[in-house]
Each structure stands twice: as structure tokens, then as C-alpha cells.
Amino acid sequence: MSARAIVVGSGLAGLFAALEAAEQGVPAALISVRPSERAQSVMAEGGINAALGEDDSTENHYNDTMAAGRFLADPNAVCKLTAAAPGIVRRLLDLGVLFNMRGHDEPELRYFGGQKIKRTVFAQSGSGKQIMSAVIQEARKYEARGLITRYDRHAFAGLAVGDNGCTGCSIRKAYSGEMTYLHGSVIIAAGGMHGLFGGTTGSLDNSGAVTAALFRTGVPLANGEFIQYHPTTAAMPGKRLLISEAARGEGGRLFVLRDGKPYYFMEDRYPELGNLSPRDVISREMWSLGEQVYLDLTGLPDEVFRARLSDTLDDCLTHLRIDPRQNPIPVAPGVHYFMGGIFVDENHRTAFPGLYAAGECCCQYHGANRLGGNSLLGAIFGGIAAAHSALADGPQAIGGEYLPPDTEQSAEDRIATQTIVRDALGIARDRAELENGIATLEGLPGSMPLLARAIMTGALERRESRGAHLRTDYLEQNDTGFRKTTVVSYDGGTISARFENIPERR
């Protein structure tokens, strides 16, 4: 196969990577087991951040992102991200995304967590789906022109590795098992490691299997211990249902019962941002309370439910059988987003030349805790940036060795792995739990338990509490020792963690 960009994953990051290549006239292969309509990106609800308000600036957006991430994100990458955000929103409008609008040309903005001013552009509470419909449509144009070729029902199998890095990858057709060998730059956009836990708010397809296979191959991971527990998720069979932060952005309040009366603990204890404090802060508070927390939306006007929270209302009625206009929703923190993942530089290059990563599968932009509204933005900007780097570098010469694919984990082993991971990587962790988790995983075969051990190794070595990483045996944040990036590697025999300095802002 000729030189091209091979994009693994057809969600928002993968689509933008493929589009960036195609717009430059470079053919892109888009690999995914299911069509883009099924990607986790369609589940995003609340919106996308961009400094578009009159009282806002990209520097403010930068400051909020860095502060929410407890200063663990790469400042140069975040700087580019927030500077690009207003342009990305305009581009989405040009593609026909139906954001809620004020007047003709300007998207409406809403409040979101961790930000004191309105900065989140939204399409009711189906922002991800609306964005994806427009971007899929744009990709279709390039498919018809032969510049994007979809390999539907195909899964990543293994990298091709030559003397100087990654030269391509093999893909395997689902159900038939037929293999195809591709040459070109490889951009991984395969989503977060939700399958390590099971029962998250995310998609079942975001198993983390591609990240696991790459880690086994020697691709380092970064900041894997930073796992976002979203404060407002509700129990439903087989998963956690996300109640979008938009619900609080529109006025929803969190309470626990004190003597039969609501006590609005966030408003009382965090008067500055209250119910819109960063997610790590609220989840930690809920964990320390140890009581049933309720999300109260009963005071919101019907118009807000109709025009701004339609999907949220629908989700509650259908899956929880709760009418949030009448009754408070019982909520608890649930695994929602992986800040860490494949270690990339500010331009989305991995440690292997010729291999790039974007979207939730990579470690970029979010530091120790992601700001609500920055995931769609990070996926779009990261996809573009990864493709940009891949095109600038050009593909490696043909001639790498195609590494053998992993065997699929049995249901029994998957459930065993998930049980161990949930026990060791809760909101709060300590040394004993993590060491026990690592030791127990050693008995399980395959790449997924290896990935789980890698994450736990980082969590064990980071002897401090910061953002989404809460160590009950090290409750303080320790900037001298750990205001650094956790990098975990595998050499074929041993997992090792080191802490790398974060680049200075230029």
C-alpha cells in the first residue's frame, strides 16, 4: 500500500485527523470496528469550550485549564489548544453544527465546571452527536473523492516496526479474521481505557485494547493514574449514566439530607464555584461525605429542559425512570474520562517515530483533572495536530516487521481484571491496595492486565494527592517531587515508572 496516514479509530479525533490529511491531498485510511455514528464522541453532552465571550480571552481559558489540571498539563500544548478554540467553533458552524445560537452568527455560551464565566458552546445537551453528524458528513465528501478510505469492521492488530520507528500497522477484519497490512504513518485515536474498569459512563467499544497492545510493544504511557470520576452519574443496568455537567451549568444543585432537609454542601463549602467546582473537587467531597447525594433540577424552568437539556431529560425518563422536573436524582461519582494514556509530545508524537496519538487515548491537555467542555475540543485539536505532525514527518520507509496481534481476553479474565482495577483504583487509593492489585494482576495473561499494572505502578509511585489522584496515605500535594509527568514503560519484562519535568511555557 502506498504512503498515507493510517488513522485507528473513527470518532471525533480520528475523523479530524483523516480530514486534515485528506484536505492536504494525502490519502487517509480510517480504521474502525463500527461506523463513526457508534463512536463514544456521539455521547458527549455538555459542549465545547472556546473563549468567545466579551469578558473572556484565550489566556483566561488557558489559566482555567491549567489550574483545573493542577499544573500537570504541558503549558505549550494547552496554549495552542485554547488559542485555536474560537476558530474551531467557527469551523464547526461552517460545517453546519446546530449549536444553540444568540442572534444569527454567535453561538450561545453556558456555564460549566471550573470556570467562572460562560465559555461553553453547546447544542442542547446533545453536543457530541450534533458535532459528529456534521463532521461525518464532511468526511463523506472526501470518501466520495477517494481521499478517505474507510476500513469498517476492522480492528487494529499490531504495529509494523522498523529500524527507525513505526512503518505501518496490520488490521484484522472482525468476524472473518482476515488480515490486511498497511504502510504509512499511524495515528491512534482509539479512545480511553474504559474497558479496564467496565461500567463507566463511556462506550463499551473504548476498551483500551489498542493502548494495551501498544504498551506491550514498548510505547510508553503517561499520567495513567489520573482517572476522572465524574460527580454526577447514576446507576443503570450495566453502566453508569452520565448526568451532564450542563445540568449544574443551567442551575442544578447538589445536596445531601440533614435532618430530613437538603444541605447544599458545595454551595456551603465552596462558595466561589459551588456546584460548578472542578469535577475532582466535587467527587472528592462526595467521597468524604459518604452519604447519598442528590442532584436537584426541580427548580429549572421547563424551557431550560426543552431547549438546553433535552437529552438529559430524555436519559433520566428512559433509563432512570425519574422525572428530574419533579424529583431529585440520586447520583454518585463514576469513572468518566482518562486524562492519561499514550505519552505524546506537544505535537502528538509518541516515543516511536511514525506513531502519533490523539483524543482520549493519549495524555494531553488535561493534566491531573480535565475541565468540562475540553474533551471535544482536545479531540478535534489533537486530531488535527497529530495529522499535521504525521504529514510534516512523512511516512517511514517500507520494511518494518509486522508484530503479531494480541489474543482476545476471555470474558472470565476480563471480569477478573475489571474487579481488581475497580478495587485498587477507586477515587481514593493507598499503597496496600495498589500493591495488592499489582500482585493479583500478575497471575492474569494478556495485554489488558499488563496495562492495568502499568496504571497502578504510576499510581503507586506518585506519592502525593493531586487532582483526580487521591492517596489516603499521602494526602498533600507535593510540587517539588511530583509536579511532573508520570512516564511508565515496559521493556518486555519489567514495568518501570519515572517522573519527567514538565516543559516551561515558551
Binding site: R34, P35, E37, R38, A39, Q40, V42, M43, L93, D94, L95, G96, L98, M101, H104, A123, Q124, G126, K129, Q130, S133, A134, Q137, E138, R140, K141, E143, A144, D152, R153, Y175, S203, L204, D205, M236, P237, G238, K239, L241, D311, D315, T318, H319, R321, S410, A411, E412, I415
Partner: protein, 235 residues
């Protein structure tokens, strides 16, 4: 507490293989969905059917589990549904029959090949060649158009889909609305309108079967009429 039910599943190992029926019991609660029950069955080790015989994992598609991705469309007691929003408590008799969608080739068990949906979208040339024209006027209808999950339930009940060679069905018309509305005119809009007439308008027999079946309850009838108005009647 346990809500006993049985899932009778039409199985087929691979394309061309002979289909057969296999029944599984489920103890999933009444609040559970068909999707949750299927996952629970596939997670069993060893996996056995109602009679205690060994069974292969059931092949079916599933991603979001909350009616946002359209992956899990199948026939539930004869009607096309999303497994993630078909609740066990809806079937008080306790026997639930699951079959693959019948309008698409079976790949394995309940997994079918719906690639024709995406091919038709390409044939219909549904994209913009210029910046989207955003008129506030049709915002809500366009929003509904873009919500379509591409699950194929509306095609399953359509007497014309699959009969006429290149008929795209309601799904195509529902999706076309936003694109047609946002296209500011010119050559490409003309091209889209021509393709629309060929791939949708001339093939629709007006059975109305698609109007009530959408698992999202999209305003299908309104979207069809509006798409027709733009693409066929030039309004």
C-alpha cells in the same frame, strides 16, 4: 426480586450457515434492558443455554447502552428496537424472541451488515460544498434531522426498502433535510436534489410504516415532508 425471563435467540454462526434457535434464561431485574440481559449471558463462564448445553457467545452489536449510538438494533418480539431501550418489564409473559434485522445480510447471530446505509448516503452526495447556511428559522427541525442514529429500524419496517434496488428509505430523507436546508444553492444542491429524487422520492410507496417506529421518536413524517419540499418541490 429476580425477574425471570427467557431469551429465545435466532442464531447463525456466519454468512451462509444454517440458522437455529437457542434459548437462554435470564435473572436480570425487570428494570434491565435486553442489552443488559445479553451482556449478562455473554459474561457467564461457562456459557450454557436453558437446557444446560454449552453455547458460543452471542454475537450482537452494542456500544453506548443508552440510545445514543444505534448499534444494538434488532428484532425484539418481531419489532425492530434498540436492545438498550427495550426493557424486560415490557414483556410480562417473560419470553422474549430476538432476531437479527431482516433487511440486512447476517454476519453472525444478531449482527448484520448495515453498510448499505452508509453507501446510500454517499450516493446521495449528502455533504456541503460551501459553508453551511444557518437560518435560525429551521433550527429545531434541522437539529432533529442530525439526531438520526442510522440504526436502520425505519428501513426494517419499510416495504420498499430492499425491494427497489437503490432506495435509501426514510433514514436517507431524514438525514437529507439538514444538509439540503444548509446548502445555499447552486450546482451541488441541484445534484443532491436529483439524487434525492432518485434514491428516495421515486422509491417511496407511501406506506407510512416508518412514521412511528423511530426509537428516538424523531418527527419522521415532518422531516420527510420538509425534505421533499426542498428537494422535489424546490421550496
Amino acid at each position: 426480586m429476580g425477574f425471570r425471563c427467557s431469551l429465545k435467540i435466532k442464531r447463525q454462526e456466519k454468512p451462509g450457515a444454517a440458522p437455529y434457535w437457542q434459548t437462554f434464561s435470564s435473572e436480570a431485574g425487570g428494570e434491565a434492558t435486553v442489552a443488559a440481559a445479553l451482556r449478562e449471558i455473554n459474561d457467564r463462564t461457562p456459557l450454557t443455554d436453558l437446557d444446560g448445553g454449552r453455547a458460543m457467545p452471542i454475537s450482537w452489536e452494542c456500544a453506548c447502552l443508552q440510545r445514543k449510538c444505534g448499534a444494538c438494533a434488532m428484532r425484539v418480539n418481531g419489532a425492530p428496537r434498540l436492545a438498550c431501550s427495550a426493557f424486560l418489564s415490557e414483556f410480562p409473559g417473560g419470553e422474549i424472541v430476538l432476531e437479527p434485522l431482516g433487511k440486512f445480510p447476517v454476519i453472525s447471530d444478531l449482527t448484520v451488515d448495515r453498510s448499505v446505509i452508509f453507501e446510500r448516503m454517499k450516493q446521495a452526495r449528502l455533504w456541503l460544498e460551501e459553508k453551511a447556511y444557518l437560518s435560525g428559522r429551521r433550527h429545531e427541525v434541522s437539529y432533529q434531522s442530525a439526531r438520526c442514529l442510522m440504526c436502520g429500524c425505519c428501513l426494517e419496517v419499510c416495504p420498499n426498502f430492499g425491494a427497489a434496488e437503490d432506495f435509501g428509505g426514510a433514514l436517507l430523507s431524514v438525514n437529507a433535510y439538514r444538509t439540503l436546508e444548509q446548502s445555499s444553492g447552486g450546482g451541488h444542491k441541484k445534484e443532491m436534489s436529483e439524487a434525492y429524487r432518485k434514491l428516495y422520492f421515486s422509491g417511496c410507496g407511501g406506506s407510512l410504516a416508518c412514521h412511528q417506529i423511530c426509537p428516538l421518536e424523531l418527527p419522521v413524517e415532518e422531516l420527510l415532508l420538509r425534505s421533499n419540499a426542498v428537494a422535489v418541490w424546490g421550496r
